[in-house]
């Protein structure tokens, strides 16, 4: 598991509901005392406006590659044996899980740091777009981070 056989693992970008239980079962390790998890769920408001749901779209092959890159970077940078990120696409209701990240390591300090890095890097780099839906039926794409090699992040 982990870095040894990434090609056999579940998809990083999924249209079905994300399962934390499955991801935990898939990454179990007896040598890791620390497990840090982040779940990003759809909340009922954003910047003061009520939100009824989201739709995520993604350039899936590129997003799969970039999330795999982020996982590998995270494992190397923080020396943690396990880092996995999954992102859901399609239409999501309030409370549904959009992203799960899991880090396992021997000790907790590097687990916390690695988890934060993996989540931030996925959000900033994976080609995934979020459209917010409002009670009046309107919607808008949420402003995001420029991923052009020459570009600058204009909204984190």
């Amino acid at each position: 598991m982990g870095q040894d056989t990434p090609e056999l693992e579940a998809a990083r970008i999924q249209s079905q509901a994300l399962s934390l239980d499955l991801l935990l079962a898939d990454t179990e390790r007896a040598d890791c005392g620390a497990l840090a998890i982040f779940c990003g769920t759809v909340r009922d408001h954003h910047e003061g406006k009520a939100v009824t749901g989201l739709e995520y779209t993604s350039h899936i092959p590129l997003a799969e590659k970039i999330v795999c890159d982020v996982e590998a970077e995270t494992r190397q940078k923080f020396d943690v044996p396990v880092c996995r990120v999954q992102h859901r696409i399609g239409r999501l209701g309030i409370g549904e899980t959009a992203i799960i990240a899991v880090v396992r390591s021997a000790h907790r300090a590097e687990a916390f740091a690695a988890l934060r890095y993996a989540v931030d890097a996925t959000k900033h780099r994976a080609p995934i777009w979020k459209e917010e839906f409002y009670p009046d039926g309107s919607s808008t794409f949420v402003e995001g981070c420029c991923i052009a090699p020459e570009g600058e992040t204009y909204d984190a």
């Binding site: 350039h59 777009w129 991923i147 570009g151």
Partner: protein, 80 residues
């Protein structure tokens, strides 16, 4: 040369379509393609913020295109 560009995210909404065929000069780069796309005022601002990919590689603005290339235009991302 004919280049096919896929539009993603807000760019597809602004363009009113998910792909567009664009004609560029011989030896054009990604930057040249971007300039052609930016002539469409409805997508001009968004195109300037896009990254471009061929297959699963993001390509720099200096990358030279070939006839028939298929690129994805990737506006700022907002996952999570």
């Amino acid at each position: 040369m004919k280049i096919e560009v896929q539009f993603w995210g807000a760019l597809a909404r602004l363009a009113g379509e998910t792909r567009r065929e664009v004609v560029v000069e011989e030896d054009a780069t990604v930057a040249d393609l971007m300039r052609v796309l930016a002539q469409d005022a409805s997508i001009c601002h968004c195109v300037e913020q896009c990254a471009f990919s061929i297959g699963t590689d993001i390509v720099p603005l200096t990358h030279t295109l070939q006839d028939g290339d298929q690129l994805a235009a990737l506006p700022p991302v907002s996952g999570g």
